[in-house]
Symmetry: C2
Subunit: 343 residues, 2 copies
């Protein structure tokens, strides 16, 4: 499948016009937006050739052309001009996420928000997963007479906390002992290893402390489990209502899919380059046949940790969104690395 220079220009023009206007583009209108002069008949011939190659499709016989999934793919891979992010865009993004830079979950939630408001699509982000990390430290703080908070930090840059109850009054002394024991036994252990079973054996090695510490140990096991799972922040689902190409029913299906963290995370975790675009069926999800997904992964402390993504109709402003998302995922990674003192 070889494309002549003219065909490339025409394909690019069709895609760009369709992205901008959202309506099938005909030979006549297209003529005007080309930077060389040919008649509409010539354009028509080329367009029907592009149709034969499967890059354009007609919604019906007497309508203009619309890019096919394959057409978008060619456009993104070799036709699209990558437009670097502008100064104003950068400032806007910074101003929106900086205020939340003190907490991983808040930060990623803020990122999903700003991504949704900027793109007018549905946006998703995942908090860093501690999966590959080891426990850096466990902290214990008293929060009331009989409650305390356990905070678990991993080398992957996650930090999870949880409040738990004891059935006896806590004192600084007791907590100090707990603290020492926990860190002795757990520092350096991979988070994934800290299963309830592991805690059982650990408890066994504690002798008479085991009883007293049982609620503490359970809380630690909970935070460890939570450190592995990344949280999913979803935002701007409503934006999808703006696109007439989606029917009400279809929107429901898309949002239902997005609301299911397990499925979503598996889509966002597909190995590939840091930034990936799934057009229509490429995602392999029946709910997304008419949508595109742009995923950009971020790293914390040099290690891949999570992702941000947008989901919208196939006719997205890929060029703008890709550059913005690259900037965002980069910022997030840097902020979290700094926040966790991992640089």
């Amino acid at each position: 499948m070889e494309l002549s220079e003219r065909q490339r220009k025409i394909l690019a023009a069709v895609v760009e016009s369709y992205i901008a206007v959202g309506e099938p583009v005909g030979s006549k209108t297209l003529c005007d937006s080309l930077d060389f002069r040919v008649s509409s008949a010539t354009v028509r011939n080329e367009m029907s050739e592009l149709s034969r190659m499967g890059l354009l499709v007609q919604p019906h016989t007497s309508a203009g052309r619309v890019p096919s999934q394959k057409g978008y793919r060619v456009y993104i891979d070799s036709l699209m001009k990558r437009r670097p992010i502008s100064r104003t865009e950068r400032q806007y993004l910074d101003s929106m996420i900086l205020p939340a830079a003190y907490d991983p979950e808040k930060l990623l939630d803020g990122v999903a928000k700003v991504l949704a408001s900027m793109t007018k699509y549905a946006a998703v982000s995942t908090t860093p997963s501690g999966e590959g990390g080891v426990i850096r430290a466990v902290q214990l703080v008293q929060t009331s007479r009989r409650t305390a908070m356990v905070i678990l930090m991993t080398s992957a840059g996650t930090m999870k906390s949880r409040v738990f109850h004891c059935d006896f009054d806590l004192t600084p002394e007791i907590l100090r002992v707990f603290f020492r024991l926990l860190n002795e036994k757990l520092a350096g252990v991979p988070v994934t290893a800290v299963t309830p079973a592991y805690m059982q054996t650990l408890a066994a090695s504690l002798g008479d402390m085991a009883m007293m510490m049982s609620s503490t140990l359970m809380a630690v096991a909970d935070t460890a489990r939570e450190s592995i799972h990344s949280e999913v922040c979803l935002n701007g689902e409503v934006n999808l209502l703006c696109y007439p190409e989606f029917g009400q029913e279809e929107i429901r299906r898309i949002i239902d899919f997005l609301s299911c963290p397990a499925e979503l995370v598996s889509l966002l975790s597909r190995r590939g380059s840091a930034l990936q675009v799934f057009i229509g069926r490429e995602s392999g999800r029946p709910e997304l046949v008419d949508s595109s997904v742009i995923v950009s992964r971020y790293a914390v402390g040099g290690k891949d940790a999570g992702a941000i993504a947008v989901v919208g109709p196939m006719r997205m402003d890929y060029s703008k969104i890709i550059s913005n998302m690259e900037y965002l995922s980069d910022s997030v990674g840097r902020m979290l690395t700094e926040l966790m003192d991992l640089e």
Copy 2:
């Protein structure tokens, strides 16, 4: 405006039929669902009387009747049978919120989720506001070489944390000093008093420590500010798509309103009984003219602290939803009271 017994029964039947089916109800169909035998003509006469009183309206001349806002109001205030929550419902609700009972924000987020999934409407909840409370304690924990977490607990049952950076290495000794100073100066102070200005004067009183503690003090001020504001959890917006009485545009407007925490909180905070129903214009919000809002407030440690609410079309299954919401808000209040050791 006096209603005869028969009129009361007819009004109730219209409301219930419309709630169940969603279509204007005519005299003939209504006849069948009444527990006494009269002809459709009689029903018609009564219905036109109810229309004259403003309790029913006709979408157009040749259609059945639909309850007006006033009609719903009469129904809820004096016609509706209050159905107590069933055992299965209670079990379902419990099973959904118990797993998140260890953290106020997670809990209320979970409540909004379960409320949305149970009712099939949009659901909202607010985390407890610390507004009327005083600082119970401030905790400090080291999270890495140069970062620490401050945790602020109030008597209103809120707990907020924040990580902050120092530009020197932290040690247990330093933190101990900070801790002592903070609790000496801040314990018992109303959260609302802890403004940046207050922190300024506090810093002044610290002498040479002021410089070292500046980032700590800022973090404390941040957590105090956050303790006052209650967080809003929104869930199930998409459910509104299921109701044909809402147009796409209207749904957008409703969701936009719900996404604006300030406006929403002011609606949820209207003083009144613990459970309130706003039908249509009663909310005073132009976005909600065709919707009803049910708000149920919960208390922590005996003090009003936050609210849960659902937003849906006027034709809600009020009876079921009200009993479920009363149970939920009660559970939430108890759980938080226990979690915060405030009983």
